[in-house]
């Protein structure tokens, strides 16, 4: 009986923790929007949503943010890998410009999880 009471306390506290995290996740996360994160030298220099359209320049790299995706329009580097990569529009995708030390990253809730 003593153990059964402990079980109930355990299950109850787990349920409380789960419901708190449910509430936290729903309030913190905006619906299905992706966040654009731009890093220069591993430091975050820009953070914003994909939905607000912008044209930004960091270290000779012009980044265009549109509702359909993010792409690098121009870069002064030699290899142009970042320009050729095209648009990225899914969470977890990144564009990296190694010569200029810029990395653009998309984060959000739309993830293809094949569990």
């Amino acid at each position: 009986m003593h153990k059964l009471r402990n079980d109930l306390i355990l299950i109850g506290s787990l349920l409380i923790v789960i419901s708190i995290s449910f509430i936290l996740f729903f309030t913190l996360s905006k619906k299905e929007n992706l966040n654009v994160l731009i890093y220069e030298n591993n430091e975050l220099v820009y953070q914003g949503e994909l939905s607000d359209e912008k044209k930004l320049e960091f270290n000779h790299v012009i980044v265009v943010i549109e509702a359909q995706g993010v792409y690098v329009q121009y870069s002064n580097c030699k290899d142009q890998v970042c320009v050729h990569q095209g648009k990225i529009n899914r969470a977890g995708q990144t564009i990296v410009c190694l010569p200029n030390k810029i990395s653009i990253r998309l984060e959000g809730r739309q993830v293809d999880v094949g569990i």
Binding site: K3, L4, N6, D7, L10, I11, L14, L15, I18, S19, S21, F22, F25, S29, A91, G92, E107, G108, R109, V111, V113, G114, I115
Partner: protein
């Protein structure tokens, strides 16, 4: 170790593998959520046999079941492996401490299984957004944990294993 004991352990391993494969045919609400019936066998072994034997059965169950289903070394295999290992050690700890009944231990095992899976999924997918699945999966795993814990409790009360081999 007597031959009889080896046979019993082999049979338990076979049952765990069969349960593991059978439960993948039972649909749940969310992809990746399973009933965790194989956990029943592991929990029984933790209570009635040596921890090393239970560990071997748990490890072999994960490897052999994914070998039979054909997804060995796939992302799902690593998720199952990490979840299985984490839940094993959590259940081992709490079954020795004896502050919870098998139901509580089973719930803790189920929740830690979900946590371990999500942790590896974060590493494999390279994005932390998978963590949003955790509350949902943890909630369902509490339910399945109670179910399997109840079954283990009923089994242990009848002391079936002790008819065949010495119980720790």
């Amino acid at each position: 170790m007597s031959v009889k004991r080896v046979c019993i352990i082999a049979m338990l391993l076979a049952m765990a593998i069969v349960l593991n494969i059978l439960e993948s045919f039972i649909p749940m609400f969310i992809p990746g959520v399973k009933l965790g019936l194989a956990n029943i066998i592991i929990l029984i072994m933790l209570y009635e046999m040596k921890p090393t034997e239970a560990f071997m059965v748990d490890l072999l169950r994960i490897v052999l079941a994914s070998l039979l289903r054909g997804n060995i070394l796939a992302p799902t295999f690593f998720m199952a492996l990490s979840g299985g290992m984490l839940s094993f050690f959590v259940m081992l700890l709490f079954s020795k401490i004896k502050c919870f009944s098998p139901i509580g231990v089973s719930v803790l095992g189920a929740v830690s299984h979900a946590t371990g899976q999500i942790m590896v999924a974060i590493i494999l997918l390279g994005t932390a957004s998978v963590v949003y699945y955790l509350p949902m999966i943890a909630l369902l795993s509490i339910g399945t944990g109670i179910l399997s814990g109840l079954l283990v409790k009923i089994y242990l009360k009848r002391s079936i294993t002790s008819r065949f081999i010495d119980v720790d």
